[in-house]
């Protein structure tokens, strides 16, 4: 190979980066931040009204922010860490090694940021990306509507032109944490006469704007992570449109790929104690030290096989993307499988927990953490595109199956 010396240097640099990163994380990640998040308070979302739930949470966030590692692979000029794909993988591996929590969770990081980097103009990037990286603004996503779920492109929220502004009227549903969000990235219909995919624009505005109201939706989990969001003649400057007016569907689709990749990774893969041991704690073991419920043990082992295989596939997806060999619709494949697997995990956890996993309101059960989390996972295969929509995308875009 002619470039072997170049790749040797690259490997050596990467190993230096790994040892430096490992040392830095050892020195800077507080021990309290090396455990999986078990409640909402353990997750830091940033925003104008952000509060830290603990001192270690604040320290960890600030140290990571100062290195640009809330968004490690974004360019430094926008508040990122400027890491290459290979360095980013090293950082993720090293954080995983010590079980470090993400310092900042944000729809700005997972969804809007990548879309702005690709479709935003320079002013929009300068305005919004650094604030996302620093956790100053908390974003929400205005996509679904009461009559536009899986058929998202049939959305009806209207944006009418009025001088330099659009005036927006309509409603959104399933807007995650809209009641806590500072800004929204929103799909609106700017040309009602065009075909459904062609008259949509992607626009950004402040949730404090006149005419915006939110109403939390109580879910089967007893939590209200989603809202109904209403817009009554909300005035937004036209300069807030990302990409071209009426071409918002391109931005929306691109963003959905990132959303799907994010959701497929939501399961706590490889974190904490093995599922089989969690189950053995409550179910008990037989004379050979094996989980004393052979059918459950088999289900867990099959789950573990599939989970390990999916982890390899997620790693390969990143490597394929890096090598320029990835199919753009592959995130739909991962989203489908990852969410179905996460539902399986929680069915197993409920089965393993037995009576103890039924308690809904008690200190002992951390206010029913497990059954609420179990119910929450049922949304995984609905939000961000249902399993059925994902399979349709794989069938048409990857397998090139005909019609419908």
């Amino acid at each position: 190979m002619t470039d072997s010396s170049a790749s040797d240097t690259e490997t050596a640099d990467l190993e230096t980066f790994r040892s430096e990163t490992r040392a830095w994380l050892e020195a800077n990640c507080p021990p309290e931040m090396r455990k999986p998040a078990t409640s909402d308070a353990d997750v830091f979302w940033g925003g104008r009204n952000a509060k830290f739930s603990s001192e270690p949470q604040r320290i960890w966030f600030e140290r990571m922010r100062d290195k640009g590692w809330t968004v490690p692979d974004w360019p430094k000029e926008y508040g990122g860490g400027g890491l290459s794909a290979a360095e980013h993988k090293v950082l993720r591996t090293e954080m995983g090694r010590i079980g470090a929590r993400p310092p900042l969770s944000s729809f700005g990081i997972w969804m809007l940021g990548p879309a702005l980097l690709k479709y935003g103009n320079e002013a929009q990037k300068q305005e919004h990306l650094p604030k996302i990286a620093a956790g100053l603004i908390r974003w929400c996503q205005g996509y679904s509507e009461p009559n536009a779920g899986s058929d998202l492109a049939s959305l009806q929220t209207r944006a009418e032109s009025d001088g330099d502004d659009f005036v927006i009227t309509g409603s959104k549903i399933w807007t995650s944490y809209a009641n806590y969000a500072d800004w929204i990235f929103c799909l609106v219909r700017t040309d009602p006469a065009a075909k459904k995919h062609d008259g949509i624009s992607f626009i950004l505005f402040d949730m404090a704007s006149k005419g915006v109201t939110t109403k939390p939706i109580l879910l089967i989990s007893g939590y209200s992570p989603f809202c109904e969001t209403f817009f009554d003649n909300v005035r937004v400057p036209k300069s807030h449109v990302v990409g071209t007016v009426n071409r918002g569907w391109d931005v929306a689709k691109y963003l959905l790929q990132h959303e799907r990749a994010m959701i497929s990774g939501m399961g706590e893969r490889g974190v904490g104690r093995p599922l089989g041991q969690i189950a053995a704690d409550s179910v008990g073991t037989d004379g050979l030290g094996r989980l004393d419920d052979s059918m459950l043990r088999g289900r867990i082992a099959s789950f573990d096989v599939d989970e390990a295989a999916l982890a390899a596939c997620a790693e390969r997806a990143v490597d394929l993307a890096k090598a320029g060999q990835a199919h753009p619709a592959f995130s739909s494949a991962m989203k489908y499988y990852g969410t179905e697997l996460n539902k399986r995990r929680y069915e197993i956890l409920m089965s393993a927990g037995g009576v103890d996993a039924l308690e809904w309101e008690s200190e002992r059960s951390k206010q029913g953490a497990r059954p609420r989390a179990w119910l929450r996972t049922k949304a995984n295969s609905i939000e961000g595109g249902t399993t059925e929509v994902m399979l349709g995308i794989v069938a048409k875009r990857i397998l090139d199956l005909p019609g419908a």
Partner: protein, 379 residues
């Protein structure tokens, strides 16, 4: 290590694919089966394989081999899986070569490895005794006699056992069935007195034998590795074989899947291409995802074997378990979606179903490997 093929590995795949699809398409297997070919594979083609450097792919260069790794062996196995070519590659070049290379002393290596590399020696591992793969249940007895041992017992599913010059036989020199201690591997000449070989024609028309040993005398030099301590060597060799069979199953699954998707795009019923029906689209999409995930798991296992065979066990268990369930699903959906055509012998798809069934049993089925993972994780 990135989980994608390197440029060299892609080139190897292309040349293996070109050679195999040209000289040994599924029709080749069909011909061997229908003509009741006594060898069960093409000796001529095996020599071309050796000339390409494939026979000695895993053999170190000092013994005339190519000195490549398990990812490369997997690349070749995958191409074998696409056309179902019967080939000594698995038994001789992967399993036996690894056993000799990992367990052999200097004399054993220099005697056998060069002959494997040049294609002149065929070898077979004799391990299974019961209906299912249970290496520790080995009960074939080896008792000390003079300077050597006498071997007695029976083996089943000895891949290429009917053509092998050299048998690598797992035997019990101490302890009893089920114990790790007391296993020993022996190199046995297949022509030795007391060796009875019965070729077993199996469902997949590939090659295997049942072998009975009756007081077969071997000298002390024919022990491969350490007496009584063969389990560790065997674990590694079997894991290498499992990784290779898992690769074959990935190739097989993908080929069956591609043929099935093409059929969905060409077969019309109710005035429509059947690929337009959502019931079939979703099943095809699920299968595609299953195959992609399994491919990644298998690649992960092969890389783990290249890094350290002794630490690859869990990755290999995941790979072989996934490959088994995925291939089973792929061939079942393949036959079902081909409808009545899938049931005919004239159509190739049934060959894939038959081979998948054998690969599933070979070196442990999905249940066996899922169980191994559960034990490794301590529950």
């Amino acid at each position: 290590m990135a989980l994608v093929l390197t440029e060299e590995q892609s080139m190897l795949r292309d040349s293996a694919r070109g050679l195999i699809s040209d000289k040994a398409p599924v029709a080749h297997l069909r011909h061997l089966r229908d003509s009741k070919d006594p060898t069960g594979f093409s000796k001529e083609f095996w020599h071309s394989f050796a000339e390409m450097g494939f026979a000695g792919l895993l053999v170190p260069e000092e013994f005339g081999g190519s000195g490549l790794g398990h990812v490369e062996a997997g690349v070749v196995m995958e191409e074998i899986g696409r056309t179902l070519m019967p080939s000594p590659f698995l038994a001789t070049s992967v399993v036996a070569a690894s056993a000799l290379n990992r367990g052999g002393n200097a004399a054993q290596k220099s005697e056998y490895l060069p002959k494997i590399s040049n294609g002149s020696l065929l070898a077979a591992l004799a391990i299974d005794e019961g209906a299912k793969h249970r290496p520790l249940q080995t009960s074939l007895q080896a008792v000390r006699a003079g300077n050597g041992f006498k071997l007695s017992g029976a083996k089943a599913l000895v891949v290429d056992g009917h053509v092998a010059d050299l048998l690598i036989v797992a035997a019990r020199t101490a302890g009893s069935a089920g114990e790790r201690e007391g296993l020993t591997l022996f190199l046995v000449n297949s022509k030795a007195k007391g060796v009875a070989i019965e070729r077993t024609i199996m469902v997949d028309a590939h090659n295997a034998a049942r072998i009975a040993l009756a007081n077969v005398e071997v000298d002390a030099d024919s022990v491969l590795g350490e007496v009584d301590q063969g389990a560790g060597l065997l674990d590694g060799v079997l894991d290498i074989g499992r990784g290779a069979v898992a690769s074959e199953m990935v190739g097989l699954s993908e080929e069956v899947f591609n043929r099935t998707v093409e059929y969905l795009k060409s077969r019309k019923q109710f005035g429509k291409l059947i690929g337009e029906f959502q019931a079939l689209q979703h099943r095809a999409a699920e299968l595609y995802v299953d195959i992609e995930i399994t491919r990644a798991a298998v690649m992960k296992a092969l890389q783990a074997l290249d890094t350290d065979v002794a630490k690859a066990a869990s990755a290999v268990a995941v790979a072989k378990a996934r490959a088994g369930t995925t291939a089973t699903r792929a061939v079942q959906e393949g036959v079902q979606m081909h409808g009545g055509m899938g049931m005919t012998d004239q159509f190739d798809i049934g060959f894939f179903m038959k081979r998948a069934r054998v690969c599933e049993e070979l070196f442990g089925d999905a249940n066996y490997h899922t169980e191994q993972l559960a034990r490794a994780r301590g529950y």
